[in-house]
């Protein structure tokens, strides 16, 4: 049950979080 909740709820949130991290990091790289 926990595994199912993890991939259905936590995993998508982690991916969106990752997109924000990459957004920040790629901006820093530029400067």
């Amino acid at each position: 049950m926990f595994q199912a909740l993890a991939v259905l709820i936590i995993l998508p949130m982690l991916i969106i979080g990752l997109s924000l991290v990459l957004y920040y990091l790629s901006g820093k790289q530029e400067t």
Partner: protein, 481 residues
């Protein structure tokens, strides 16, 4: 049982028809913005971050997401999540690490197609890359377009009762009108509208379903009581899990997705597009999985689905959950998904014919005026569309056979080549051509002869093989010189 039965309601049919024909209006509205060939094929590099983000995610997803992934989740359970995880992650990295570099370089080279870029990047005066790439695009993407048109026409025919041929002609004609008028700009804005319709279907739908059922815990408990392995994300096995994640390897090699990055007004804005696109991709992907899971909880036996086909779960549940207005919109969402892929791919085929073959090879010593280029581009869109339409009518067996290799073949042919051309300065022209050919051949051979025995998705060995071959050939050439 006709899953489109609810379309008999006049309001549902009206909404459904509006979702089908609204794109033509967009074509007329964008006509004035298409003044030259660059506008026609890459929107003159003037598209904003939102349009690029939504256009990239909706043209990248066909009915495979709406019907395929929901059907997969119905059949396999929570493990279907891995099928969306792979491409969502791949496209996130693509926006930032491939898109930005490619956009900058294609502007410097004044490239308007992917093959234009390769030729300039490797100073390929003999057009080896262009010819090889054009052949791969010509075969796989034309087949892709024809298959999408056929799939769209079959559903349209079931929905409206029109004969398949009439549906095929209607769907093709509609696409061709707005594409000929507004080119890439019309396609991109229509993609945005379709991304919104798809998101509506794939988010509102499962939300309503979950509320009705009493929340996600109730859903998972119901599924566990029916079959505990259905809620185990690892029950699909390690091989299938890697194969699902490997679907993402195909994304960087799809010219119709890649060209979106080339169309943005400012390369740096692709960072924002990455966040918007990922958010959208996540909502759509996980929404499709939730629909499949809700479907299994509502209708546990596959025998109770039309044609015993799990891919029907989206339409069956829509007709159970919603009234005519929403149902019309949700059914329209399927066509939105199919047509947003078909039009983007058709534009790639047309740009390959006119730009890569006619202008750069056949008429390479003659200068064409901008207005003749634009007018020829419009004609070639019509010709390519008619070819795809004829293929969809007459050669559907060959088309569906070719489409089996299309995502993998394009992914392995162009993905490693693009990544190495952007990130490894020592990559050579011969390396790229070898990689393109090897990627395509490994995909076909693996799928035909080795997939069943190995259980590995063909794109994974093909991508790795093409990557290694490009590095090896380029390295040997460099040592030799």
């Amino acid at each position: 049982m006709n899953v489109y039965e609810q379309l008999n309601h006049p309001i549902a049919m009206l909404i459904f028809i509006l979702t089908l024909f609204f794109p033509v209006i967009v074509g007329f509205l964008t006509l004035h913005r298409t003044k030259n060939q660059s506008d026609f094929f890459i929107g003159g590099r003037t598209m904003n971050k939102l349009v690029v983000a939504l256009s990239a995610v909706s043209s990248g997803r066909s009915s495979w997401l709406v019907l395929g992934v929901s059907g997969m989740a119905y059949k396999m359970g929570v493990g279907a999540v891995w099928a969306v995880t792979g491409y969502v992650l791949a496209e996130l990295f693509q926006f930032i690490y491939i898109g930005r570099k490619l956009r900058t370089q294609t502007e410097a080279y004044q490239s308007i197609t992917l093959l234009d870029y390769f030729e300039s990047r490797f100073r390929d005066n003999r057009h080896l890359i262009r010819i090889t790439g054009a052949l791969i695009i010509g075969i796989f993407i034309t087949a892709y377009v024809a298959a999408q048109l056929k799939a769209g026409a079959d559903s349209l025919s079931t929905a409206t009762g029109m004969p398949v041929i009439a549906s095929l002609v209607t769907a093709s004609l509609m696409i061709l009108i707005y594409m000929t008028l507004g080119g890439f700009i019309a396609v991109a804005y229509n993609d945005v509208i379709r991304a919104i319709i798809m998101l509506f279907g794939l988010v509102i739908f499962p939300t309503v379903g979950l509320v009705r059922l009493g929340g996600i815990s109730c859903l998972l408990n119901t599924l566990r009581a029916w079959n505990p392995s259905h809620i185990d994300p690892l029950s699909i096995g390690f091989g299938a899990l890697i194969g699902f994640l490997g679907i993402g390897l195909g994304s960087p090699g799809q010219p119709h997705i890649i060209v979106r990055y080339m169309s943005i007004n400012d390369p740096d804005q692709l960072r924002k597009s990455a966040v918007i696109g990922t958010f959208w991709n996540v909502l759509m992907g996980w929404g499709a999985v939730m629909i499949g899971l809700l479907g299994r909880a509502a209708i546990p036996e596959v025998q109770n689905l039309p044609e015993q086909n799990p891919e029907m779960i989206y339409l069956v549940l829509s007709s159970q959950y919603f009234g005519p207005v929403f149902y019309g919109l949700l059914a329209g969402g399927i066509f939105a998904a199919i047509l947003s892929t078909a039009d983007s791919q058709l534009l790639v085929v047309a740009s390959t014919f006119i730009r890569d073959i006619y202008e750069k090879i056949i008429r390479k010593n003659k200068t064409l005026s901008e207005s003749s280029k634009l007018s020829l581009s419009r004609w070639i869109v019509i010709v390519s569309g008619v070819i795809a339409l004829i293929l969809a009518c007459l050669a559907k067996d060959i088309i569906f056979w070719l489409v089996l290799f299309a995502w993998g073949g394009l992914g392995a042919a162009f993905g490693p080549a693009l990544i190495l051309s952007l990130y490894w300065k020592k990559t050579t022209r011969t390396g790229i051509v070898s990689g393109m050919i090897a990627g395509t051949l490994i995909t076909i051979v693996w799928k035909l002869f080795l997939k069943t025995s190995s259980g590995i998705y063909e794109l994974i060995p093909a991508f790795i093989g093409a990557f290694i071959l490009i590095v090896l050939v380029s390295w040997i050439q460099e040592k030799g010189s």
